[in-house]
């Protein structure tokens, strides 16, 4: 057990160290991509907490991502807030939105839960368009460079942006690792595996799932806020269903219920789209083919398959 704990921490700290080194080794184009991937991976980690560990298949996470993004961006744009309180508001907004949706949506389960969360996300998206006077509507708005400075550090510059993304990613990953190895993390898995049996041990499924969804929303919220702040744009596109499906694909590709799976999935999917779209306009076809291959040959995703075939200690 102690040996496994050592291996687990070594692996995750090595990933952080490798990502830190990558900024010096990669061309700027790929370093910027990697910064974007790390932020999206935080979003996917949040999705993984709900879906991969607790079994909540949501199609509404774009609402939590956009809630974080707009809760960060609007106070800066409209009220000239400083970035740090705006970022904190983004984090909180994701959690609060997830809590509010969860209070209603968790009265359903399975396909119904999926549909209800999708409905909430669509309502959120349409609200952003309807209130275009305040939200910028479909065009969104730019977060000006002057408002992307924290303590004299310009987050619009390449290196600080990369390090900020790495900091967020590291905190998110280590937080997720701690969570899933904690007693509550085990209860989340128990709930995923057998809700009735968990109830028979004295756990309130509604409470456990709501807490997991709120944690998931906090991840999505802070990822949305960080994405807007680091890349300087807030727009309704991020509230569309595409942004609910993306983290699901990242998680499925990397391995649902694994801590590093969302990052690997985001990395693989991002570059699959990037490379395929460079060759053909039919890049969605390539992505679809990759997903079919994944389902056929590694239905548990990259890390899920590795765990099944030998690396049983992978969290």
């Amino acid at each position: 057990m102690k040996g496994e704990t050592g291996k687990i921490w070594t692996l995750h700290l090595a990933v952080i160290a490798a990502l830190f080194a990558a900024q010096f080794l990669l061309p700027q184009y790929h370093a910027t991509n990697l910064a974007r991937i790390m932020v999206l991976a935080v979003y996917a980690m949040g999705y993984n907490i709900a879906f991969g560990y607790t079994g909540l298949l949501s199609l509404g996470h774009a609402l939590f991502f956009a809630a974080g993004m707009y809760a960060m961006g609007l106070p800066i744009w409209q009220l000239e807030w400083l970035p740090v309180p705006a970022l904190i508001l983004g984090l909180v907004a994701g959690g609060v939105m997830a809590g509010a949706v969860g209070l209603l949506a968790l009265r359903t389960a399975g396909v119904s839960f999926m549909i209800v969360t999708l409905m909430f996300a669509q309502a959120g998206y349409l609200t952003l368009l309807y209130l275009n006077t305040w939200t910028g509507g479909d065009e969104g708005f730019v977060v000006e460079r002057a408002y992307r400075m924290i303590g004299g550090v310009d987050l619009a510059a390449d290196t600080p942006r990369y390090l900020a993304a790495l900091g967020l990613f590291s905190a998110g990953m280590l937080g997720c690792l701690w969570l899933v190895r904690s007693p509550f993390g085990r209860v989340m898995v128990a709930m995923r595996e057998n809700e009735e049996r968990s109830r028979m041990l004295g756990f309130n499924p509604f409470r456990v799932k709501l807490i997991a969804l709120v944690i998931s929303g906090l991840y999505a919220g802070v990822a949305g806020a960080a994405y807007g702040l680091l890349f300087g744009y807030v727009g309704a596109t991020f509230a569309t269903i595409q942004y609910s499906i993306l983290p699901m694909l990242y998680v499925l590709m990397g391995g649902a219920g694994t801590v590093l799976g969302p990052f690997l999935g985001a990395l693989a999917m991002f570059y699959l789209i990037d490379i395929a779209s460079g060759f053909t306009d039919a890049w969605l076809f390539v992505v679809g083919a990759a997903l079919v291959a994944l389902i056929l040959f590694a239905p548990k995703g990259i890390l899920g398959t590795l765990r099944e075939r030998g690396l049983k200690w992978l969290p």
Partner: protein, 231 residues
Amino acid sequence: MIEVRALTAGYGPVTVLRDLNFRADAGQITCIMGRNGAGKSTLMKAIMGLVPASSGSIVLNGQDVTRLPAHQVPLQGIAYVPQGRRLFGPLTVAENIAIGLNARRKGQATRDFVLDLFPRLGERLEQVASTLSGGEQQMLAIARALCLEPQVLLLDEPTEGLQPSMIALIRDTILKLKASGMATVLVEQRVDAVLKMADRVAFMMHGRVEAEAEARDLTAASPQFQEFVGV
């Protein structure tokens, strides 16, 4: 210890338990016998709050637990090991036990107690539960339930499908729990097992307890077995 009074319960419009009365006392093993469909498992589920009662009551140590939400029933001190074990398959033995301990915030002493009862689990703490043998899975299911430190333990056919050595081990464990003062309610189909373990036997038919007897007054040839179990 636990008393079921005039309980009527079922699934939606289908009534399974009808005006059922039943009692289990501390330090005793009460066996429930009956043919398939008599309502034995439904009685277990009704006690646990999984099947809603339309009338009647379930009283634990003088406290009415009939209408508690299902997740609060185990916290009052009733543990249930259902038919088919239902472990958390991908988790290890240690993690399954930890989840049981976590439910009522029990600590090392309770963990030591259950591992003393089932030393074999102690040897397999890091093994994934789904890879255990049938008997070991049953041990783990019982161990996890005991992590709640229950006053009443409900066991639904715990020896079903197990090899004789495992049956003997499970039986010895149940007798140890009896000695510790726990009230054990056991759904069992095997007459020999009932005669070896039970203090009292309740015979169910059509959703009611139709007859009760002290186990010492029964033999394998007793007419109750012919009438209610069909052997």
